[in-house]
């Protein structure tokens, strides 16, 4: 990202951190792992901001949560939550946003590539989230997959589709030189 847009990217990354938190707010508890919109905004951050700024965005989000701000699912927060049963999902957002960003950058900014990139990120989320859930709660593998993955697959597919549409809405807003490029020395 070139230097002249550093400020804009800082602002957008912060906005995404806030959107991720807002997406965690609307959580539906269906067991130890709730349904959230949070992961959609994580993946969206990857395709809109790219890997580096995506990481910054998720990093700030997790940092705020770790400090005790109520930004995790259902208004929870704190280090305990980060090391709790759903901590694996939360921490997986870092590699997930990075992978999504890299895939999206290499493939290009088309809707079908967006979907692919987000699917790749999604797999990363489960690859870390489910084993962590099994470890912390001491469930059997079958049980962990049953409460930590199966119930979300359809929802996540819908979220990925919605995310791809959202990208189509957001890109024109932020790429029009609407308010000009901000130059710094």
């Amino acid at each position: 990202m070139d230097n002249s847009n550093q400020l804009k990217m800082t602002v957008y990354a912060s906005l995404f951190a806030a959107l991720i938190a807002a997406g965690a707010f609307m959580a539906i508890p269906i067991g130890p792992v709730p349904i959230v919109l949070q992961n959609m905004f994580v993946l969206l951050a990857g395709i809109i901001l790219g890997p580096r700024w995506g990481l910054a965005s998720v990093g700030v989000y997790l940092l705020m949560g770790a400090l005790g701000f109520p930004v995790f699912a259902g208004g929870a927060g704190g280090l305990g939550r980060l090391f709790g049963p759903t901590g694996g999902y939360l921490l997986s957002y870092l590699p997930a946003v990075f992978i999504t960003g890299v895939v999206s950058q290499t493939l290009g900014k088309k809707t079908h590539w967006d979907i692919l990139a987000m699917a790749a990120g999604s797999m990363m989320i489960y690859a870390m989230g489910v084993p962590w859930l099994k470890m912390v709660t001491g469930m059997a593998w079958g049980k962990a997959v049953a409460v930590g993955m199966y119930p979300f697959i359809i929802g996540d597919l819908l979220k990925i589709t919605a995310g791809a549409f959202s990208a189509g809405i957001i890109r024109p807003v932020i790429h029009t030189p609407a308010l000009g490029k901000i130059t710094t020395e």
Partner: protein
């Protein structure tokens, strides 16, 4: 908005007046210590935290009420443990044994999460946001690869955007309800109708904010944050370390 239990509430207690860096340090030490703490020390810690929160005008009743969703999730965790840990059955539920070991284990885990939650609450409601940000910046300074000034500005912006997004969502929903959008039952259409203007508006607002920041000469070579000390920091940190020691040893 839902952040009320965590919102900064000014008072004059010695926790309030202490240096934010000291508080952040204590928060981390105690949070980590709880991860290996047993029943009795945890119970004592929770009682102590409830007491300190009461001094900050947050009675135990109010705290529990505001954390009701969190408590529900804790209950799920407890149930999962109780039903899946092998051991001596206490009762049978849905053809599965609820074991004594499972119940004990689950309760312990829940108490730990709960204690950490209260710690975070105590920190954020006794420290003004600009100082939270300052303390984070200070601790990030020695960490390589992380530009601490930018992280601090991002925290400021994050706190700025969160209520903005929620407020805009609410306004858009009301404007649409006024045109009878509730009669449309298709949830997808409704979600799309809300999301499209919301995304456009929030990103436009972000764009404007970036412009306004640039015009105020935004730069990452900013003045460092300032901390005020009450002089009791040493005492507070020692107490926290001692407590943490007790939590681990007992």
């Amino acid at each position: 908005m839902g952040v009320t239990p965590f919102a900064y509430t000014p008072s004059t207690t010695s926790i309030q007046r202490a240096d934010a860096r000291c508080k952040l340090f204590c928060l981390s030490v105690l949070s980590i210590a709880t991860l290996s703490a047993g029943f009795i020390p945890l119970a004592v810690l929770i009682a102590l935290l409830f007491g300190l929160l009461t001094l900050e005008q947050k009675s135990p009743g109010r705290v529990l009420l505001e954390l009701k969703y969190f408590c529900l999730l804790l209950f799920f965790v407890l149930a999962a443990r109780a039903l899946t840990t092998p051991g001596d059955p206490v009762v049978v539920f849905l053809n599965t044994d609820v074991t004594r070991q499972g119940l004990l284990d689950g309760t312990l885990i829940c108490l730990r999460f709960f204690a950490v939650m209260l710690l975070g609450m105590l920190f954020t409601c006794t420290t003004r946001p600009s100082l939270v940000k300052g303390a984070v910046e200070w601790f990030l300074r020695p960490v390589p690869l992380i530009p601490e000034k930018r992280a601090a500005v991002m925290i400021t912006l994050f706190l700025r955007f969160l209520p903005l997004v929620l407020k805009q969502a609410h306004e858009i929903r009301q404007a649409q309800q006024a045109r009878c959008s509730d009669l449309k039952k298709n949830p997808v259409t409704r979600a799309v109708n809300l999301a499209v203007p919301l995304l456009k508006k929030t990103f436009t607002a972000a764009d404007r904010l970036a412009i306004a920041m640039a015009s105020r000469s935004y730069s990452e070579q900013r003045t460092d944050p300032e901390f005020s000390r009450s002089g009791q920091e040493k005492k507070i940190c020692c107490t926290a370390l001692f407590l943490a020691g007790l939590l681990v040893v007992m």
